[in-house]
């Protein structure tokens, strides 16, 4: 089996669940012996572009030469120069472009010869189409049986490659426009998502929650939509744990970790914090992450009069994420809409008890968690206080949760995907 996978960011520069999922799944498929051509966009001027394993871009060539990552035997990486990034919005995309152009001008300021050689013209939607065209060119030189595209920005590329080659298309829905934007849906994005899902031979949803959105909001037939849950990378570094738990701290830490956007419910977290502080004093609320509501959240904490009790760390990655988990007494995910939610699994893996919103895919697979309706601020506060006040609660949640999370392995998700590839092949009559 050979897969042409249109994916996203790889470690160490992962900005969210989408990258984590692509990486986990690809690694596990690799272990199963599935051959993968992994195509991903890389912004040339990105500050992460020093990542040696992946890219050796040249300005004149929008498609880069194949790169192999040492520990992945069956995966070949192909990068396409493109400023597309997961979680982009039309606005943030525009800002990013302006940023990189000015950076480019700064670094090559005097000569200015690179400016304009990049075809970064137009908006994000144009770029998504340009990416699709480049993907067709790239695919022309590749051998594969099936195409697997992750989230809407790669759907046009997936569809284009499928049309050009006649190979079956599997689209993987990690989130939908309804999750990201509530009812204020961006029509263009919705249309692209819908087009991709309809054109696909099979649709993979990351939870039943997402599957039902795919069926009800995008009009996709249920027979075509499969659920494949995400897994979690086991940390397995218990030494670190022992070393850190001996740290004496007089304050309990309640952690929010995720993008600070409408979807993640940061305002519910802060309002719950306010209520918790009526009952418990020696507690600090840490908001780790960045996003378009970051400034609003800082202001809101001040307005609620709990500014001194809320700490904003900004975006964390790698070892810093592990560190913050080690310090946390409780992880809270009050997401308004969460197709899956990998971060709570990482919390459990780090022995941190979790409160998750019932409106999340992860709530379908984890039973040893406290579950709340995201809008029920009183209940969120009630549960936070309970974890802080009644130690046996955390003890029980930790011991069962840490065990339960081990059952969610990427290798099982990969096996489900492999089966779906087979079915797509049969269905497509290949």
């Amino acid at each position: 089996m050979k897969v042409f996978m249109l994916g996203w960011e790889f470690p160490p520069f992962i900005s969210g669940g989408l990258g984590t999922a692509c990486y986990g799944l690809t690694k596990a498929l690799d272990q199963m012996g599935v051959q993968i051509t992994f195509v991903l966009p890389t912004a040339v001027q990105s500050k992460y572009a020093t990542h040696v394993k992946l890219v050796s871009p040249t300005m004149q060539q929008p498609i880069n030469t194949p790169v192999k990552v040492h520990q992945l035997k069956n995966v070949v990486f192909r990068t396409i120069n493109s400023p597309l990034q997961p979680y982009s919005t039309a606005d943030s995309y525009q800002r990013k472009i302006e940023e990189s152009i000015s950076k480019m001008q700064a670094s090559h300021g005097k000569t200015g010869k690179f400016v304009g050689t990049l075809d970064y013209s137009g908006d994000m939607y144009t770029e998504v189409q340009r990416y699709a065209d480049l993907a067709i060119r790239l695919a022309a030189n590749e051998q594969f049986d099936v195409i697997h595209a992750h989230d809407w920005m790669t759907y046009p590329a997936g569809v284009a490659v499928a049309r050009a080659t006649g190979k079956p298309l599997v689209v993987h829905v990690h989130s939908t426009e309804f999750d990201r934007s509530g009812e204020h849906v961006n029509q263009m994005i919705y249309d692209i998502e819908r087009m991709g899902m309809h054109a696909a031979d099979r649709v993979i949803a990351v939870s039943y929650l997402t599957r039902s959105i795919v069926i009800s909001r995008y009009g996709i037939s249920g027979d075509k939509v499969e659920v494949v849950y995400n897994g979690v990378e086991r940390n397995g570094n218990s030494n670190l744990l022992v070393g850190n738990t001996t740290i004496k701290k007089d304050e309990k830490i309640v952690l929010f970790l995720g993008r600070i956007t409408m979807q993640k419910g940061p305002d519910y977290f802060l309002r719950a914090a306010k209520k918790v502080l009526e009952k418990v004093d020696n507690v600090r609320f840490v908001m780790a992450g960045s996003g378009d509501l970051m400034h609003r959240a800082v202001e809101m904490a001040a307005e609620l009069g709990i500014g001194s009790k809320v700490l904003f760390t900004g975006f964390l990655r790698g070892e810093d994420v592990n560190k913050i988990f080690k310090m946390a007494d409780l992880y809270v995910m009050p997401s308004v809409s969460e197709p899956f939610g990998i971060a709570p699994l990482e919390a459990l893996d780090n022995d941190v008890p979790i409160i998750i919103s019932k409106q999340s895919g992860v709530s379908e697979v984890i039973t040893h968690a406290l579950k709340v309706d995201f809008w029920d601020v009183d209940e969120i506060a009630n549960k936070i206080v309970a974890v802080l006040k009644y130690p046996p609660l955390g003890v029980t949640l930790r011991s069962h949760g840490n065990y339960e999370v081990r059952k969610l392995r990427w290798i099982d998700s990969a096996a489900r995907c492999a089966k779906i590839y087979e079915e797509a092949l049969v269905g497509a009559g290949v």
Binding site: K275, E278, K279, T367, H368, L370, K371, D378, E379, A381, N382, K383, V385, A386, K389, Y390, P391, P392, L393, V395, T396, L397, H400, E404
Partner: protein
Amino acid sequence: MASVCFYFQVHQPTRLRHYTVFDNNINYFDDRKNAEICRKVANKCYLPANRLILDLIRKYDGRFKVAYSVTGVLLEQLEAYSPEVLSTFDALARTGCVEFLAETYYHSLSFLYSRNEFAAQVNKQVQRIQELFGQTPRVFRNTELIYNNDLASMIESMGCFDAVISEGADHILGYRSPNFVYTPKGCNRLRLLLKNYALSDDIAFRFSNRGWTQWPLTADKFAHWVNRVNGNGFTVNLFMDYETFGEHQWKDTGIFDFMYHLPEEILRHPDNNFKTPSEVVKTYQPMGVVDVPHLISWADTERDLSAWLGNAMQSNAIHELYRLEKKIKGSGDAKLINDWRKLQTSDHFYYMCTKYFADGDVHKYFNPYDSPYDSYINFMNILGNLHLRCVKHPPAAPFGQVAQNAESLTAVRQDSSQADAVAAN
């Protein structure tokens, strides 16, 4: 001779309402939900089952007999929400073919945590049965059939019981059969009746299981199994939840029809009969001593206490609850004491069980909580409020004076004098 001895456990807890840490209302119980469940179970089980048993007693003219243990906390709810169930129990009591057993009024685990409290609750239950049904229980069954040698000794020392009931667990019986009367180790007068779990569970758990090789279970098939006990046992102790009829096994499984035909099939064999637990211990001599040094129960496959005390939350909650005993009783506040006692009902701890939670199973029966964690949080929040209430009371008065306020302790005294009177007779 094979006597079939039926005993039905009849119990519903007083469920708690949703109670957050921000609450300070002193009403802890979900009256609406309790009423709803009580009426539902009354209609599906208690009323039709009582009617059936009454019909059978009349039909067989006193040859069909059963025993019940109806908890005090359920009796209170029936009185409030379904008084017609109480009148049918009363009608059953009047037939003379129905024995009522004793247990802790609050269906509690108090034996494990406070012997004083345990005795008070047993006495309260005995009194209530006397008031309602005009008979004095002579056989004791502990909550969830929790039992060991100590329990037997305690029951014998109370002086008012002839026998105690427990689970016929393999690991306490070894090669021996539950179909005999035994003497608990360390007791002289007291007898031990053990549940025949194989035959009991055929009705209570397997009856409607289509994957079971013996499905469908018919009355004549079951009677045939009972007949096989003839010659190697005296009594077949069929102990089960009364909710088996119509609630655990729905009406459309045929459970009522099965029960309707059972006496006829059992009595078809001339050596068979029906006896109540008291009659069984009066009729048959004990066949030996059973030694149970460790606690057992009738729950799950483990037959231990892990369903109530298996995790850190359960053990924390129950310890915190009993730690308040002195303060609560010292308050002399009858409502406070009653609230504290209703919190002792074992179901509250059962809901906190994480053992089979991930699988989703039998533990879910009428469980008002989404998860064991929610149940623990709710319980602890209420306990927090209860604690505040007893802190508000003035320092405890000397114990003797308090007893006059606390009706239960008065009950202990009354009952011990009654017991003396019984002994004198």
